[in-house]
Every structure is written in structure tokens, then in C-alpha cells.
């Protein structure tokens, strides 16, 4: 339950009682002592950038995804536009990551207490998390678009299957154009000299030619279709693999630190073991030496005893 108003009322009552008691009052700081934290301004800038990026994505999401342009009223983007959007988005994301790393370095260089350090670290972490979320939107949208393109392509293929004429006839004139161009370039002279035979030539062979051309066209068409099919599929797979790659790189980077630590520990421990071997060897030597001396001492003492015994007798 909000009792802020009650609190403010209490403040007023206390102020009036203070005044009536004649107590001196400090000038109230009306605007509040909210000093801006110098170090947080950069963080807030980064935050603003990421938020603007996010709103940009959400705005253009519908247009970006609109692959099938049936209604002219629906906003859509041409391929060029999409490439532009892609490039800009990647640019901004890399800029933001750059800014975050810079900020990290800046913060690491500041003198601060443990609590402040934790505070700044968490601020940076939350910024990174936010950026990751926003870039996830972007990659998801891209993946969805690629999927949609493939779907529409499949749909369009189904349409052309029962009626291959329109596309073939469109192909055929282009093919005949090509052929006629090439033939015209090579057979230019005979054509000029013999107009009628060429006309006959064209008329005679047109039926055969058409058949040949038709079959050739069909083969070429199927080939190209399958190739473009494969290309589209590969594109989707590559996008998939790129996602997986991201996941893996994340994991690997996480492991990197641990592995480095383990490597240094291992090096340290091999050093320690070497030293330990050294020490043990020395200890054994000294032990042996000690034994030798003890034996010597005992021998000498016993001989001296014998000697004294013999001497005193």
C-alpha cells in the first residue's frame, strides 16, 4: 500500500512543529542531491543504443519478414533493403560490443571498493545480457525469413509443375534468343548472302530444333532447379550451423578460462614435484652421510675404549 503521501504529510507536520519550536532549519534541497555518477553515464549511453536498436528491429520486423508480396499495401523490402538492414544491424551490434568492452576496461581501471566493483560488474553483465537478447531477436528473424523463402519457393514450384509451359515458353524464347544470337554472330555472313536459305533453314529445322531445344531446356531447367534447391537448403543448414557454432563458441570460451587455470596449476604442480624429488634425493644423501658418520664415531669410540682398556692394564 502506498503511503508516500502519508509520509509527505508527516514531513509537513514535523516541519511545522519544528518551525513553531523555533528550530533552525536547513535549506531544503528541492532538486535533490542526485549527483550523476560519471561512470554510469557511459553505461546509460550503451543502454540507449541497444534500446534504439531493439525498437529498430521491432519496427522493421514485419516488413523484413514479408517475403510474399501479394498486397501492395503491405510494407515489404527489396533484397537491397534487406541487405542494408543486415549490414546496419551488424554494425550497431559490433559497435555496442566494442563500447561494452571499452567500458569494462574503463571500470576495471577505477579505484573502488568491493561493493562498487560488484555493482559495476553486475551493470556490465546486465548490459551484455540485454545485448544478447536483442541480437537473438535479429538472428531469429533472419532464420524465420530464410525458412519462409524456402517455403514460398516450394509452393511456387508446386504451381509450375502442372503447367510448365509458361515458364518454359518464357525460357524458350530466351534460349532461342541466345541461340539465335550466337548463330547469328557466327552465321552472319551466310545469312546476309543467302537470306532465303536461312529462312528455309529456320523453318525446316524449327520443329526438330524446337524438340531439341525443348528437351535441352527441360534438362537445364531441372538442373538449375535442383541446384537452386540445394543452395536454398544449404543456406538454411548453414544458418542452423551458424547458430550451433555460436553456442559452441560460447561454451568453448567459458571453458577457456578454466582450461588456462588448470594448465597453470598443472605447470605449478610439475615444478613442485620436481623440487620435491630434489629434496628427497638430498634427504636420502644426508641420511646416508649421517649413517656413515655415526658408524665411524661408534667404531672410533669402541677402538678408543679398547685402547684405554689395554693401556690401563
Amino acid at each position: 500500500m502506498d503511503i508516500t503521501t502519508l509520509f509527505k504529510a508527516c514531513v509537513k507536520t514535523v516541519r511545522t512543529t519544528n518551525k513553531s519550536l523555533g528550530a533552525k532549519e536547513q535549506k531544503p534541497n528541492v532538486f535533490g542531491r542526485t549527483q550523476k555518477d560519471v561512470h554510469l553515464t557511459k553505461a546509460r549511453e550503451i543502454l540507449k543504443q541497444i534500446t534504439s536498436l531493439r525498437s529498430f528491429f521491432l519496427e522493421n520486423k514485419a516488413a523484413y519478414l514479408n517475403v510474399i508480396n501479394y498486397l501492395s499495401t503491405n510494407k515489404t523490402m527489396t533484397e537491397v533493403d534487406r541487405a542494408e538492414v543486415d549490414a546496419m544491424a551488424e554494425n550497431i551490434i559490433s559497435k555496442c560490443t566494442h563500447m561494452i568492452t571499452e567500458y569494462k576496461k574503463e571500470v576495471a581501471g577505477l579505484p573502488k571498493t568491493k561493493q562498487k566493483e560488484e555493482h559495476y560488474q553486475n551493470v556490465i553483465e546486465s548490459l551484455e545480457q540485454y545485448l544478447k537478447n536483442v541480437s537473438k531477436i535479429y538472428t531469429e528473424v533472419k532464420a524465420v525469413r530464410v525458412k519462409r523463402v524456402i517455403e514460398t519457393h516450394k509452393l511456387s514450384k508446386l504451381e509450375t509443375k502442372p503447367s510448365p509451359q509458361p515458364t518454359e515458353t518464357s525460357e524458350v524464347p530466351s534460349k532461342t534468343n541466345l541461340e539465335s544470337n550466337s548463330s547469328s554472330s557466327t552465321k552472319k555472313e551466310p545469312r546476309i548472302s543467302l537470306p532465303s536459305p536461312t529462312v528455309n533453314y529456320e523453318e525446316e529445322l524449327s520443329a526438330e530444333e524446337m524438340q531439341m531445344f525443348e528437351s535441352e531446356n527441360e534438362i537445364l531447367y531441372n538442373e538449375l532447379n535442383s541446384i537452386s534447391d540445394e543452395v536454398k537448403q544449404m543456406e538454411s543448414k548453414v544458418v542452423h550451423i551458424a547458430e550451433l557454432q555460436e553456442l559452441f563458441t560460447e561454451k568453448v570460451l567459458q571453458q577457456e578460462k578454466d582450461i588456462e587455470r588448470i594448465a597453470t596449476t598443472v605447470v605449478g604442480s610439475t615444478e613442485n614435484v620436481k623440487d620435491a624429488n630434489e629434496q628427497i634425493r638430498q634427504a636420502i644423501q644426508r641420511n646416508a652421510g649421517l649413517r656413515v658418520w655415526v658408524l665411524f664415531f661408534l667404531l672410533v669410540m669402541s677402538f678408543s675404549l679398547l685402547f684405554l682398556d689395554w693401556y690401563n692394564d
Binding site: 542526485t34 562498487k116 537448403q233
Partner: protein, 645 residues
């Protein structure tokens, strides 16, 4: 219908969101803030939100109120504490030192006008009134441990313990203070859940006082048009015409259950491992094994869990853990089996993932057909996506294995299964069980003196006809075993008080019992880690504890002579009326025990509600208590009371 716990989480999340209503947009930009709490605030938040969730809400730092804190500029500081003198003093100190720039003060229970004025004057002297942006009364003075269980206090709960309420030299003012604390907590429960209950309680003890006070408080608030906290259900959106039944009971209605030896997983964890705020601390003295994963030979991912010597490991057992959720009420042998099953399942998934790696290694070099690649990519994606789940599962299985092993060790060393069996027999038939009882009491290897004391007290309670000589015989045996006889004195007095009530129905625990099922042959044949030979596989028969029986009677309006003597209080009605006979049975009930609750009763209520729900009528029962005490703590309190007599 969201549970009480969920409502409390929503309230706290809203508070963390600087008391602005939360929008459902995902990926909103983070607003950084600092959380400062006192002990009570810590107890309330720790079972509800994990550190990760706090960070998601934008909390960068969280600290104790009474610790040294450095000034952190510009970010708002959210205070969450109880409005005690100590806390307010510390807050005024903070004002003076100007530690933060923006203050949002949230008080766990409502702050009095006087204290608010003191705070205001402190703010004026420190010249930071403009920095205080919001002051809120959050009515969340209770700790939700589960979706349907709450307690009022955890740390510093001595003031409202059973001992404090029942001790002989308690002063009226102290009693008033204790009652006020309890009523405050119950009031916040109802504000958070947004409903006004119908209150019933027995007459003549602390429960009656609590019930009357709560009724008065609810009534005052309802008829105070200005700040009525119970906005109509239209706001919450649930047209809940049924009002819940609040049943306030005193611990004295059933003294045997807190001392009973338990057999269900959660109750065992509470009894033996001191489960507190859904956390258990286990001492591990053996190093756990390591795990090695090899995914896609290009990316070796190394997962190694190596423990050290005698390490104290904190395990969190809460409702997000699926295994815990489904097995916390099952008897212990079932739990052991279930852990085995989970382990098998996990091993098979691990095998699958490894197979994937080999198939990738072999086929990825030769085959370049697109279909195969697509197959593999989907397989890889699924494997990678399921990998964190697998790791999490492994961690949970590890944790449960260590918890269960710790419990099993305790059971084996103290022969708790025999105790349990005997107690169940006593509570059901109360026949002449002298021989086995005397054997156990004089057996030095079976259980600690406290266990024996518990067993004997239960025997004493359930046997209305016990001659003096018998009692002397037992006392001698107990003395020999080294038990402290003070609790017994207190129980004797208690029994004499309640003798009249018990005269009618001698045995409130009827229907209990166990039957030994030879199920552990299956366990042994599976070569399990849990060598449960020597531990009897006891299966508990369904029975109702006294508390459950009372709940059943009152919810269904069964005609029972005792129940008619219970008070009936309805805060929404202006005049006190009689008990309406034509009401439909209640669907929601909140059972509150003044003086200490335990997991056994909770489990019993849960089972009862489940049985009723499968039978047709939906019943939701929430269990609440002033605090949770396991048998050891309760016995200690009884000893203190006995000593004072």
C-alpha cells in the same frame, strides 16, 4: 488460481520493479537498483527468488541492512525491512550519511504513525526528503516455503515459539506482543491472497485469542472505507465466491505428531538434516566422481565434479526440482528406488549422446548427401539443446543421492526404522507393547536418548491407562539410557489438562500402521548404491492425523460434538450469527497451528487434499504455522517447560 506463494512472488517482483505495475514485454531494458534487507526480509526473499532471478530484475547489489555499506550514486536503493526501532535507526543513519541518492522504502508490515513521523524528522534533519521517492507498506510478513505452506518466522523465532507461549511466567504484555506478531503475520497472508476467510477455532487457549484478534483486525479494515485492502475480486479477475476457511489450532491439540519419527523424504530431511528455508547442509567426506563428456570430437566439453575432503555442501530443495516435487512426500524406500530409476534414465540418455558422437565421427567424413546432413544437424541441435538439461539432471541426481545417503546413514546408525514402526503401532492400537518398548529403551545401540524420550512420550500420550508403577519402571529405564526427564513432567501436566477432552475419543490416531513389504529384494538385485538391508521397507497405511480429522470435519460440516464447540467468526458480517447449516462444504482451507508446525502434518494434509480431489471435490489446503520445529527442537522446548514447573 494462483497460489499464495505465487502471489507473494508477484508482490515482491512488483516491489523490485520500483512499485510500478509490471508489463509483460520480454527483454525490456534493465533498470539498475540495489536491494537492502534485514533478517526478516532475507528470510522472506530467499525461498522465493534465486540470485539469478534477482539479477534479471536488475538488482546489482543486495546487502544486509546492518552491514557497512558504501555510497553508490545514482541508482535507486530499495529497502525491504520490518519497521522496528533498530531498523529505523539504521535507516536514519543512512540518511545522515547520504549513502544513496534515491530511496524506496518498503516495510514488511505496516509502520505506525508515530514511527513514520520519527522517520520524517530524521529525513528532515538529514536534509534528504527529496531523495525519498516512495514509502510503501508491503503486507508480506510471512515466509512461503511451498505453494501451500507458509510460516511466520524463521530466524529470531524464539518470541513466538511454543515455549514462549506456554511458559508459566509469561506476562500479559508479553502475551499481547506475541499475539500481535502472529495476528500481523496472518493478516498479511490474507491481504496478499486477497480473500477474507471464515475463522473457526477451538475455545480456551492461545488459538482463541489469535482468532478473536484477527477477526477484529479484519473487521476494522473491511469497514474502513478509506483504505480497504481487500479490493473486490473483480480486480483480481477471479470470481471466487467461495471463501476459504481459516482454522486456527493450538499445538496442544496434538502433541505426539511433532515428536513422531518420520518416514517421508521431506520430513526426514527436516528431522535429520535440519532442512531450513528449503536448504540442507550436508557434510561430504568422500570425493565425488568426475564426468567426462566428448561431444563432436572437435569440441571437448569437460565437466568435472570433484569434491574435497569433509566439505559442507548446501543443497537447495525447492519446487523447481521435478524429482523433489514428485517425491518429497513418498516414503523413503520409494525415494531410493526412484533415484535409481532416474540414474538409469540419465545413463541411457548419456549413451545416446555418445552414440551420436561416434556416428558423426564416422559418417561425417564420407557422406555428403544433403539429407544425411540435415538429419545430423537436427540431431546435433537436439543433442546440444538437451545437453544443459542433461547436466542439470545429473546435478540433481547427485544432490539427491548425497541427501538420501546422509539420511540413510542416520537411519542406520540410530535404528530409526524400528522406532518408526513401534510408534506407528502405538499410535494405532495402543495395546500392551511393554516388552518391545522396554527392549528398545534399554538397548544402548538404538538411537540417541532423545529418540528414546520421543518414543516414550508418544507411548505415554497414547495410553490413557497407565499405572504409576509402569511409569516408574519406564522412567528407570530411561534414566539408565541417559535421557532427560523434564519433558515428561510437562507432558504429564498437559495430559491431565486434556484428559477431559480425550476421554471421549481415546484414540485419535487410529488407522495408523505399517506393513512390511518385501520390496527391497528388487533393490538388492539391481545392485543399487543404497544398501538397504537391515533397514525395513515399511509402507505406511493411509491414516489421518488429528489435525487432518478436524479439518475434514469442519470443511464438510460433519456433525461432531467437539466441532460444535468451536468458535465461528465471520469478519464480513456485522452481527455474530449462528453457524449456518446449509452452507456447501468449503473448498479452500488454511490450517494454522499456533506454537509450531512440522512436515508430517503438512504431508498428511496434502495427502488428504489429493485423496479428496481424486474422489471428486477439489480441495485446496494451505498449511501454516508460527514456525517449523523438528522433533529435537520441540523436545528441547518441552524440557525447558518441564524444568520450570
Amino acid at each position: 488460481m494462483t497460489s499464495l506463494r505465487q502471489k507473494q512472488i508477484n508482490a515482491i517482483k512488483q516491489m523490485l520493479n520500483l512499485n510500478q505495475p509490471q508489463t509483460k514485454l520480454g527483454g525490456l531494458e534493465p533498470v539498475w537498483k540495489i536491494l537492502i534487507y534485514d533478517r526478516l526480509g532475507q528470510d522472506i526473499i530467499s525461498p522465493l527468488l534465486s540470485v539469478k532471478e534477482l539479477r534479471e530484475q536488475g538488482v546489482t547489489l543486495f546487502m544486509q541492512l546492518h552491514s557497512d555499506r558504501d555510497p553508490i550514486p545514482e541508482v535507486p536503493a530499495v529497502y525491504f525491512c520490518a519497521p522496528t526501532e533498530e531498523n529505523l535507526g539504521r535507516i536514519s543513519q543512512d540518511f545522515q550519511a547520504g549513502v544513496y541518492d534515491i530511496y524506496h522504502l518498503n516495510f514488511i508490515s505496516p509502520i505506525s504513525r508515530q514511527k513514520l513521523e520519527d522517520l520524517a524528522s530524521a529525513a528532515i534533519t538529514a536534509n534528504c526528503v527529496a531523495n525519498i521517492h516512495k514509502v510503501f507498506d508491503q503486507y508480506v510478513n510471512f515466509i512461503s516455503l511451498e505453494d501451500d505452506m507458509f510460516v511466520l518466522k524463521h530466524q529470531h523465532s524464539d518470541a513466538i515459539s511454543y515455549y514462549n507461549i506456554n511458559k508459566g511466567d509469561i506476562k500479559d504484555s508479553e502475551m499481547e506482543a506475541v499475539m500481535n506478531t502472529i495476528v500481523d503475520g496472518l493478516f498479511s497472508v490474507f491481504v496478499t491472497s486477497g480473500t477474507v476467510p471464515i475463522i473457526r477455532s477451538p475455545k480456551g487457549n492461545a488459538a482463541e485469542m489469535v482468532a478473536k484478534k484477527l477477526d477484529k483486525k479484519l473487521r476494522d479494515n473491511l469497514f474502513d472505507a478509506r483504505n480497504n485492502l481487500f479490493h473486490t475480486d473483480a480486480q483480481a479477475g477471479n470470481f471466487n465466491f467461495q471463501r476459504p476457511l481459516l482454522l486456527v489450532l493450538d499445538r496442544n491439540v496434538d502433541m505426539a505428531t511433532p515428536l513422531h519419527h518420520t518416514w517421508t523424504y521431506q520430513a526426514l530431511a527436516h528431522d535429520l538434516l535440519e532442512l531450513a528455508l528449503n536448504r540442507v547442509v550436508i557434510e561430504e567426506s568422500t570425493p565425488t566422481g568426475g564426468l567426462y563428456y566428448d561431444i563432436l570430437f572437435l569440441f571437448p566439453i569437460f565437466v568435472n565434479v570433484v569434491g574435497a575432503r569433509a566439505k559442507n555442501r548446501t543443497c537447495e530443495l525447492d519446487c523447481k526440482d521435478k524429482f523433489w516435487w514428485s517425491h518429497k512426500g513418498s516414503p523413503f524406500p520409494t525415494v531410493a528406488e526412484a533415484i535409481q530409476e532416474e540414474l538409469e534414465q540419465y545413463k541411457s540418455s548419456e549413451e545416446e549422446v555418445k552414440k551420436l558422437k561416434t556416428s558423426m565421427g564416422i559418417d561425417g567424413e564420407n557422406d555428403i548427401a544433403l539429407s544425411f546432413v540435415s538429419d545430423n544437424t537436427t540431431k546435433i541441435t537436439s543433442a546440444v539443446n538437451s545437453l544443459p538439461q542433461l547436466l542439470e539432471k545429473k546435478r540433481l541426481i547427485d544432490m539427491h543421492t548425497s541427501v538420501a545417503t546422509a539420511i540413510l546413514n542416520c537411519i542406520k546408525s540410530r535404528k530409526l526404522d524400528t522406532f518408526f514402526e513401534l510408534e506407528e503401532k502405538i499410535m494405532s492400537k495402543a495395546q500392551a507393547l511393554d516388552k518391545p518398548l522396554l527392549d528398545i529403551l534399554s538397548d544402548p545401540g538404538a538411537g540417541t536418548p532423545e529418540d528414546k524420550m520421543r518414543l516414550f512420550i508418544i507411548f505415554y500420550i497414547c495410553n490413557p491407562h497407565l499405572s504409576e508403577s509402569d511409569v516408574k519402571k519406564y522412567e528407570a529405564a530411561l534414566n539408565q539410557a541417559g535421557c532427560d526427564l523434564n519433558p515428561l513432567n510437562y507432558i504429564k501436566r498437559w495430559k491431565s489438562y486434556t484428559k477431559m477432552a480425550l476421554a471421549a475419543n481415546i484414540n485419535q490416531y487410529e488407522g495408523a500402521g505399517t506393513k512390511t513389504v518385501s520390496m527391497f529384494s528388487k533393490l538388492v538385485s539391481q545392485g543399487s548404491n543404497f544398501v538397504m538391508e537391515g533397514v525395513k521397507n515399511l509402507v505406511v497405511k493411509r491414516h489421518n492425523l488429528p489435525v487432518t480429522k478436524i479439518v475434514d470435519n469442519l470443511m464438510e460440516f460433519k456433525n461432531s460434538q467437539e466441532m460444535d464447540e468451536y468458535l465461528y467468526l465471520d469478519p464480513k458480517q456485522l452481527k455474530l450469527t449462528d453457524i449456518p447449516r446449509n452452507r456447501s462444504p468449503f473448498q479452500d482451507a488454511i490450517v494454522f497451528i499456533v506454537g509450531g508446525g512440522n512436515y508430517i502434518e503438512y504431508q498428511n494434509l496434502v495427502d488428504y487434499a489429493k485423496a479428496k480431489t481424486t474422489a471428486g471435490t477439489t480441495k485446496r489446503i494451505t498449511y501454516g504455522a508460527t514456525t517449523l520445529s523438528n522433533a529435537k527442537q520441540f523436545l528441547k522446548q518441552l524440557a525447558l517447560l518441564g524444568q520450570e514447573m
